[in-house]
Amino acid sequence: MTTPFPRGHHDDLEQDIVAALENREVDDAGDRELLQRLWQRTGELVARLESVTDLSEMAPGCHRPTRNLLARYERQIKILERMIRISDRNQSDLKRLNQALEEASTHDQLTGLTNRRFMTDRCRQEDRRVERHGGSYALLLLDADHFKRINDSYGHEVGDQTLVELARAFRSSLRQEDLCSRWGGEEFLALLIEANLDEAVGVATRSIESSRAIRVAVDGDDVRITASIGIAAHQANETYADTLRRADTALYEAKRLGRDRYFLEGPAAD
């Protein structure tokens, strides 16, 4: 390991320069003056470096004697290198922390899906996009059927596990560009960007099928679940809140018709 202190480190060059400057005989072709100026400049540069890294921020014009320049220079460089390394580490720690906080503020802890706040923001953005550039989107509101029964018969832990499975089933039924979030207790909302009704129906069908396939093992028993879905396609002059209201009405309709199915609300958007 190298010692962190180049202190006591003697530099022949410095001594040679000092000796040459003291020796009037080198004055021949104005060398001495040049050397004198170079020497002074070097001292000033090291002092300036020290004024950047030094704790006390020495007042300008407060010069130390021009001694051990190389050692002083090396010490300051070493300090700067360490400070940069440590600062970088600090910053990447903060960045990581920031990411964790952002993740916590935009995601649902149980299912890992985005949360209602995040989804609301995304829907608003989508409204602005459609208003400016045209296009459309569809909303799918999925609700677990008879979820309360699972909670009541098997307890909340099994209920939670079922929700995690349902979230996974819903997410895996989406197209790549779609987003889904945990909207409420056992309710999930998906935003299908630029989806026509056929595509929305395709997603809903897959979601219902993969929900049916869920099995949560409890004491040799398989807990099953089904889901109902309301679909609404965004219409011109509508905000996401209006579309969502229609998706909710459709969901109610799907429940009323016997659950484990989707219902399509409103006329086709295109």
Binding site: M1, P4, F5, L55, S56, R82, M83, I86, R89, D93
Partner: protein, 131 residues
């Protein structure tokens, strides 16, 4: 002052600066909290001065006991200054040591401790604290 050689330094913590207790009898400087004060120099100058007079007045050992969750760049600079002074003392045969305590919930804080302790020849111990 009669008690000039037995003087403790106590600085209360604030939101942006750590608490400091320098105990002359025990030969321990304890710092706890976060360090991003507006003027790092005025805070660390007191500690550096205390350290210098302790090392000069007494032949006894010194321990720097740190639990600092966050350090801004100029605090890091001041910390390097403190450690460098300890290194000089160690090279002169003085028994000095540093304990760097970090929150076990933030395992990455170990790395900062390692980074700070690098290059010194005196004992630099990194300890996890369980909250």
């Amino acid at each position: 002052m009669a008690n000039q050689h037995v003087q403790n330094l106590t600085i209360e913590s604030s939101q942006s600066s750590p608490s400091v207790i320098a105990d002359w009898e025990r030969g321990v400087i304890m710092m706890r909290g976060e360090s991003y004060p507006e003027n790092s120099f005025s805070l660390y100058e007191k500690i550096l001065d205390w350290l210098a007079s302790y090392l000069e007045a007494s032949p006894r050992s010194l321990q720097l006991d740190l639990e600092l969750n966050y350090l801004n760049t100029s605090s890091v600079r001041a910390m390097i200054e403190l450690f460098d002074n300890l290194q000089t003392a160690a090279e002169n045969g003085r028994e000095v040591s540093v304990i760097w305590r970090y929150d076990a919930r933030n395992p990455r804080a170990v790395e900062l401790g390692k980074e700070l302790g690098e290059d010194y020849t005196f004992p630099f111990t990194i300890l996890a604290i369980d909250p």
